[in-house]
Amino acid sequence: MSTSPKPLPLEGIRVLDFGQFVAIPFCTLWLAQLGAEIISVESSSRLTARGAPPFEEGQEGNRNASGYFNSLYATKKSLTLDLATKEGKRIVHELVAVCDVVVENFATGVIEKLGFGYDVLARINPGIVMISNGAFGRTGPMKDGRGLHSTVNLFSGVADVTGYVDSGPRIMGSVLPDPLSGTYAAFAILAALEHRSHTGLGQYVDVAMYEAMLTLIPEAVIDLTMNGVEPRRVGNRDRQKAPHGIYPAAGEDRWLALSIADDQSWQAFCHSVGRTDLASDSRFANAPARLENVEALDAEVASCTSVHDLYAMVAQLQAAGVMAGPVLRSDELLDNPQLDARGMVVSIDHPVANRHRHLGLPWTMDSLGTRSTRAPLLGEHSREIIIGLLGRTEAEYEQLERDRILT
């Protein structure tokens, strides 16, 4: 656990979290790190994240040892509740009265069927901010469509500009529609809380994952709708810079990213990799010529880079004034000296899953603090929430347990 002494910006904000998969849990992970109290409502009968790999070695299937859960639910509280029961629903309604925000990413219609639609919750607490997140959103003819990240990628149009030269569409990595829509959900929550601070009123926000992805491709959307220009997949090339791409480095599956916008950088590149012949090659003399001869250019550049050690080459090119960088693998991010120097790599101890590293927030703050504590054990905070927050008695709590409401 690490807690900095600086004030936590979202301290005092309480969120009732019905999130699952990645999108909403990612959203509330950020809010938790910034100081908000996140009450994750779990049920033993649908432990999707706790059952997902990877697990701590030797603990496969242990619902407190899932790396998937422990990464996404760090710094949150766990309340187990049977939402199908009348008493379970009553507890949710009592929680809504003392919470600021409710978040959910069930399939469309599920939250209303459970009795927790926005209209119901706003009558209990007019200040409540409620966020729904789904593949296609909560309105429109496809609102009932189910979809994971690959579906969203394929519908959003982003796959239309992602792919190798003259090849088929590709989806982006990192289940991006989930965390990207989660980022927008976090912004929407903070915007709605800002609005509430002036009016006292909450509101409902509908986040569609495909619309979040659509924000990545304004150029292609505008060119198509204005000029009728269909997107062309061009691999890693750019329409103004050349060479611009990802080229092999020495070793297995190691790659260099290179982005050269002007002739001076091109000259510096050629000299840095010891290819003065390319520096004087008329096919590559200026940017228009390099774009014209981009096939030959890319082949020459690849033959230069493939014999050099990646990091030594990056250091040398940067020193020579050439925009170059390593293509990092996901496992290298945790060891990355730059992310580590910025305090983004966080180690968290866990009594069941032991110590693991995670990536924290991607920004630093000089006057405000963040925190990272371990993910909760299943139902760890049920007692604290039912008795401490809702004011039920010990006897009432025990009755809820006997009635299997808190499972």
Partner: protein, 412 residues
């Protein structure tokens, strides 16, 4: 207690606040060149903040990027610039001169938020180092965005959209297939043809800025927020990092069982496009087998169980591709609907834009680029009480033909 109880006599009427948008009480100065900072300020502006965009005399480079009507360059008709900068007011300042720096500082005196992604050397010349600004304007929230961030061994590296994206792990993790089932060199790490890492950074910075607005209400103090494109795109890889954090496995772009778990869960070519097919658990697999007419191979010991499908995933991919190639995208989508399977076809931007769903939700909205009608992405989320709105066009750069636009140095 929830903050809702903070009601006081200065509350506006709900209607007045609605008309201004959720962020109508905030004023922002943006000094951005490119996508990242401009996008942060766009999100704030689109939900109601008063944003003044500062440009240097040479203009934001996005003005020369386009897309332009018929491809003809025009600083006032760059589609990307207009998309990023609608809802903002504009001013041109030579911030590296005394008068320009003074004018910028006057703007900052009454601002809540300053967002920038220009080079540190330019900020320094304008007297706008974050530390200096924090001293001069203690309540100001200062957000700086750059490829690698301020501080740390790589902070002086030159970088852009591609370099930061590559260094964030995103390019490596972009899945290959369907053409190369098991070949890391056939499909190198891939960057999409768009400003992905800058947009992700801009959206993350908008969260950071609003966090600092909340924090300022508690402390009365401003904040310097420093965000890197690399860090923002690394943060969204939370799922791909788990195997590395737990057990040291490497997630790679081959979409194999070690990367993404149960099979099948990948996308494949079909007769007239591409389709994703997810039938990871046996219950799904049995339904998919039925949809395929229960072929003997699907029911054989090589494919009937989860472990078997994981073991034989390359052959599984080939067999499913052979089946999918016999079907159209529409056939596959309706099979998915009928059998309760997650099967979904690739949509080109044109197909998405023309869909009833995108039209019904106004996912795209009208934008005039010069005299040409176009459409751009609309609200990234729908706020019921304080909706996204397009209130004013982006600032013009060639004001001589437009009496309504202020000369250099005055906010239009």
């Amino acid at each position: 207690m929830p903050i809702a109880s903070e009601r006081n006599s200065s509350l506006e009427t709900h209607a007045a606040q609605q008309a201004r948008g959720a962020l109508g009480a905030l004023s922002v100065v943006e000094f951005g060149e490119g996508t990242a900072a401009a996008y942060t300020a766009k999100l704030l502006a689109d939900f109601g903040a008063d944003v003044v965009k500062v440009e240097r005399p040479q203009g934001d480079p996005t003005r020369s990027r386009g897309p332009f009507p018929d491809g003809k360059a025009d600083p006032d008709a760059s589609g990307l610039f207009l998309y990023l900068n609608s809802n903002k007011r504009g001013v041109v300042l030579d911030v590296e001169t005394g008068a320009g720096a003074e004018a910028l500082d006057r703007l900052l005196t009454s601002a809540d938020i300053f967002v920038t992604d220009v080079a540190p050397s330019v900020l320094r010349a304008a007297g706008c180092d974050p530390e200096v600004l924090r001293g001069r304007h203690p309540r100001l929230i200062v957000a700086t965005l750059s490829p690698f961030g301020r501080g740390g061994p790589w902070s002086d590296w030159m970088g852009d959209e591609l370099i930061a994206y590559a260094a964030s792990g995103m390019a490596y993790g972009t899945p290959g297939i369907p053409d190369a089932a098991d070949d890391l060199y056939a499909e190198p790490p891939l960057h999409p043809s768009c400003f992905a890492s800058e947009t992700i950074a801009g959206a993350s910075a908008a969260v950071a800025v609003m966090t600092a607005v909340m924090g300022r209400r508690r402390t009365g103090e401003g904040c310097h927020l420093d965000l890197s494109f690399q860090a923002a795109s690394a943060a969204v890889q939370i799922r791909d990092l788990m195997p590395a954090s737990y057990g040291g496995a490497i997630y790679n772009r081959l979409l194999n069982p070690t990367s993404i778990g149960r099979m099948p869960n990948f996308y494949l070519p079909c007769q007239d496009g591409y389709v994703t097919i997810a039938a990871p658990m046996d219950i799904h697999w049995n339904r998919l087998a039925e949809a395929m007419g229960n072929p003997a191979w699907a029911l054989s010991a090589d494919f009937a169980t989860e472990p078997a499908r994981a073991r034989n995933w390359i052959e599984l991919r080939e067999r499913l591709a052979a089946w999918a190639m016999g079907c159209t995208r529409n056939q596959l989508q309706s099979i998915g609907e009928r059998y309760g399977l997650m099967m979904f076809p690739f949509h080109s931007i044109r197909q998405m834009a023309a869909s009833d769903h995108a039209r019904d939700r106004a996912s795209l909205v009208d934008l005039a680029v010069g005299n040409r009608p176009a459409q751009m992405p609309g609200a990234p989320f729908k706020m019921a009480a304080t909706p996204w709105s397009l209130r004013r066009p982006a600032p013009r750069f060639s004001p001589e033909d437009d009496a309504g636009v202020a000369p250099i140095g005055e906010v239009a």
